[in-house]
Amino acid sequence: MYSADFDVIVVGGGPAGVSAAIPLAKSGMNVLLVDRAEQKGTKSVSGGVLWGNDLEKIILDWNKEAPIERKIIAKRIGMLTETDQFTMDYRTKQWENMNVGYSVLRVKFDSWLLKKAEESGVFVINGSPIEKLAWNNGRVTGIIESGEVTTANSVIVADGANSRIVLNEKFGGVNIKGKTEYPIENMALGIKEVYKLDEKTINDRFNITYPYGVASEYLLGFLKNGVMGGGFLYTNKESISLGVVINLPSLKKGKLYSYDIIEDYKTHPFIAPLIEGGSLVEYSAHLIPEGGPTGVPKLAGNGYLVVGDAASLCYSNGVVIQGMNYAIRSGMVAAETLINAKKNNWVDKSFQEYIYRLKENHLLEDIEMLSHVDRFSWNERLHHTYPYLITDILNNFIGEHGNPKKHIRTIVKEARKKQGISNLTLMRDMLSWGWRL
């Protein structure tokens, strides 16, 4: 065995990379983490809720120390038409004492994560975009930057949704006109605006008290030309993260401008009052892997593992969008795999254990489920027919319009006819909601 510069090189300093690097360094390995941002965290973007408490296994009492914005204690899921809104508002006292989710702003958060990595003995290099791996005899032997090779016994690919390594090394993607690229069916486009508002205004408008916060997500039924998208609103301590997630194939067909869609959402009569008076402090965008199992690249090979968004380990069914928690979990699983691989003198087959360990930790099962939910979350009827159907039914059922009272069955039937939905279609969609969600 040749002598490598490092035991492990981790490419990417987001939650996935750091969650792999910390346990590896703590196990006594010689770990280099390279990140493309010159100043820590400044290339990181996400919608903004870190679900779950997986970090606890890596950083004890992380939530007492980390720069988190608010603890999520309520979730609002709804649909918007031009004039109507239907929302389910779930809130529980239980979440106040649990670690269900936290709103975060990633520049602060990732920079903290990287500092924790350094404290654990990880050697962190900033400002180094890596796009190629070094190979020898069918085995990854390190990374290449500006033609120079830094060697390692293993490499963890954690460079995010827009991973250049996954494409350049052909671990994933498809060939389109001679270039390896991610198909638009496997990615959604997230666009976000952050509005500064004072803490009290946010508390009042969302009926909460700091340190508690709310995560809201809406289907945007009012989008024109069949474009499908969702809108989110997450409360931070003194700002609101407002954004949209856009289905790319429908955008291509519908020919709307992505940067207009977020303004359509922001100026909606029921969204605008929530951010009124706020000042725009940031505009950002990020791809969201959501190809389900078809989007997952080759996860492991001789000398390398792929984690987090780069591995397309992201869960989104239109109501639940989770990425950072899967990033953290896959990073931890990668670390376990490599700790064992080192014990086995880095033999090639020890890298394949990563797949089994991911299965053991239910990561791949969750992603597998997406092959079923896909039909639900990016369903044309769900986005453009049901918001109108449901609000029409409620309008007639709840409201007083000076007409003779009608049975709910009649109201549903009339609304259904107006939207051109047959009984059979309605039943089929309801079943697929129930079973697939």
Binding site: L105, N162, L248, S258, T267, A272, V281, L287
Partner: protein
Amino acid sequence: MGVEVVIERIEIKNRLGVVKYITDNEKYAHITVDTTICEHCPHYFCTYSCPAQCFKIMGGKLVFIYEDCIECGTCAIACDQGAVTWHNPRGPFGVIYKEG
């Protein structure tokens, strides 16, 4: 009695105005577009999908600017004609987010 809250749409160029960048020299532009290929493009999806309006049709031709790019990667996958080549910007360059 209530007052309807009207929130202004913000022009994309003004939204990009709050974003901080360190712009690299044009010869190191991290995205390159072979616009001769674009002349035959059936959809110009890049102009609709890019959230930073880096792709525009001007005088019937596709014009690309790399300076406003916020590094999402959408253009590379929106282009199925092989015209877009995407790399990460060099070390200190490109977008510098403050919030994330």
